[in-house]
């Protein structure tokens, strides 16, 4: 089974055959967006963009939760984490995301109690062990982390853990796809939908989008063969002029998704407008806690003075996130901005496009790469 799960989907012979299959059907240039940062990472890691025929261009989507968490929320996190009575918990990647004035690492270095957790359930444990402290979790993520965060809120309620709250920055994929397709500068002709988001939500939400924008959408996994299969199916549709939703990740994704997870998400969260870093407000693109759970909402629990945000003036991550520029087109890429010293959020997480290009720059086939 192990081999069926991983190495089977990396088998070089199959990878080559799939690429030949794509070569056979492609007759002209196509721009395909992989919405998910995990797929951007895999494409660069395995050099898939270099192996595919030159007609196929990947446009990297905004599907990295670390990258799109708004500067306002990062600044709020910094402010809450600096409070003396607070233990602030977060996934590791968020610690280096630059706010207007430093990052969570800076707060930690200055004596703040900032802790990295693997799961939000760890945060609940910390809250139980430290009843005299306020424990705040930075709840970022797409539909994949929402079931975990929602369950934690219900657990906090059941176990009467009152010193626990969340700074919520949930974002959803389908509204982002709509925003990209509605933009006058859009170049995307087909989508690889994010496989793991669909394991939770299913793929019924994409049917009206495919019809409305006349665009093929293929639910795609993360192994090299999964991605190539997704590309193959998108190209096949583009060449034939069809615009259907297909599922190329059937070992994990069903049409309806995980219903019990969806139920708990909707029990705890409700849809809201959400600001995406580098992009702006996308209507109805996020989740926030329902009013009945307001006591677990860090934004209302802590009195945060109005903050003024300041983005780096060189960073073009907004354009990178919208697929309008490639990371190497940024003047700071690999010089002023590196994963050790990121100017923008897309250089922090391994799912961010700038970091993926930096780490796997051997695969970048462009003349003016700053980083070698």
């Amino acid at each position: 089974m192990e081999s069926k799960l991983r190495s089977g989907f990396r088998e070089p012979k199959l990878v080559q055959a799939k690429i030949r299959q794509i070569e056979k059907i492609v007759t002209r240039p196509w721009a395909i967006m992989e919405i998910c940062g995990g797929q951007t990472h895999a494409i660069k890691k395995f050099g898939l963009d270099q192996l595919l025929p030159p007609q196929i261009e990947f446009i990297h989507g905004p599907g990295c939760p670390v990258c799109v968490t708004s500067l306002e929320l990062v600044d709020k996190a910094l402010e809450i984490a600096s409070m003396p009575n607070v233990i602030f918990t977060s996934y590791g990647d968020m610690l280096r995301v630059p706010g207007s004035n430093g990052d969570l690492f800076t707060v930690k270095a200055n004596g703040g109690d900032v802790r990295v957790v693997y799961s939000p359930l760890d945060t609940l444990k910390i809250a139980q062990e430290n009843p005299q402290k306020e424990v705040v979790f930075f709840a970022i993520g797409f539909e994949t982390t929402a079931p975990a965060n929602a369950m934690c809120i219900l657990q906090a309620q059941t176990l009467k853990i009152d010193n626990f709250s969340m700074l919520v920055s949930h974002v959803c994929v389908p509204p982002a796809i709509r925003a990209i397709l509605s933009s006058p500068s859009n170049r995307v002709q087909g989508f690889l939908a994010a496989g793991h988001v669909c394991t939770v939500m299913g793929y019924w939400e994409y049917l009206p989008i495919a019809q409305e924008y006349r665009i093929p959408i293929v639910v795609t996994g993360f192994e090299p063969l999964d991605i190539l299969e997704g590309v193959y199916r998108v190209v096949r549709q583009l060449e034939m002029g069809t615009f259907e939703v297909e599922n190329a990740y059937s070992r994990l994704v069903t049409y309806e998704g995980n219903i019990s997870a969806q139920k708990v998400i909707h029990q705890v969260f409700e849809v809201c407008d959400r600001k995406w870093r580098g992009i702006g407000v996308i209507p109805q693109s996020g989740w926030k806690l329902r009013p009945e759970f307001v006591k677990y909402d860090a934004e209302s629990r802590f009195d945060i003075q109005s903050i003024t945000t300041q983005e780096s003036s060189i960073c073009i991550s907004g354009l990178v996130l919208q697929g309008l520029k490639k990371p190497y087109e940024c003047a700071a890429f690999g010089t002023l901005c590196t994963p050790q010293n990121p100017l923008g959020a897309t250089m922090v997480s391994s799912e961010g496009a700038c970091a993926a290009y930096y780490h796997y720059s051997r695969n970048i086939d462009v003349p003016n790469v700053n980083h070698v």
Partner: protein, 83 residues
């Protein structure tokens, strides 16, 4: 964190009213919440996101997909051999 990790359930138990499991990620054991996969049994493979199993991985579908992919290679080889 959108990249779920597949692992095998080695033990199922309850903690604080939640169904939990010990999951083997290629030799590393970690705890995960199984509340969203009530159908999961010991020995099943699940996809885990931030400490929560969200799906049981369909072994049947995985084999079928790989079989289809292998078929393509075989066809491809036959065509090249003829050509």
């Amino acid at each position: 964190m959108c990249l779920g990790v597949p692992g095998k359930i080695v033990e199922i138990y309850e903690a604080n009213g939640l169904s939990m499991g010990k999951i083997d990620f290629g030799g590393v054991l970690r705890e995960a919440c199984l509340a969203y996969v009530p159908e999961a049994k010991v020995g099943d493979y699940v996809l885990v996101h931030v400490g929560f199993a969200l799906n049981v991985i369909s072994e049947e579908e995985a084999s079928e997909t790989l079989a289809l992919l292998n078929e393509i290679v075989n066809l491809d080889e036959q065509v090249s051999a003829q050509g």
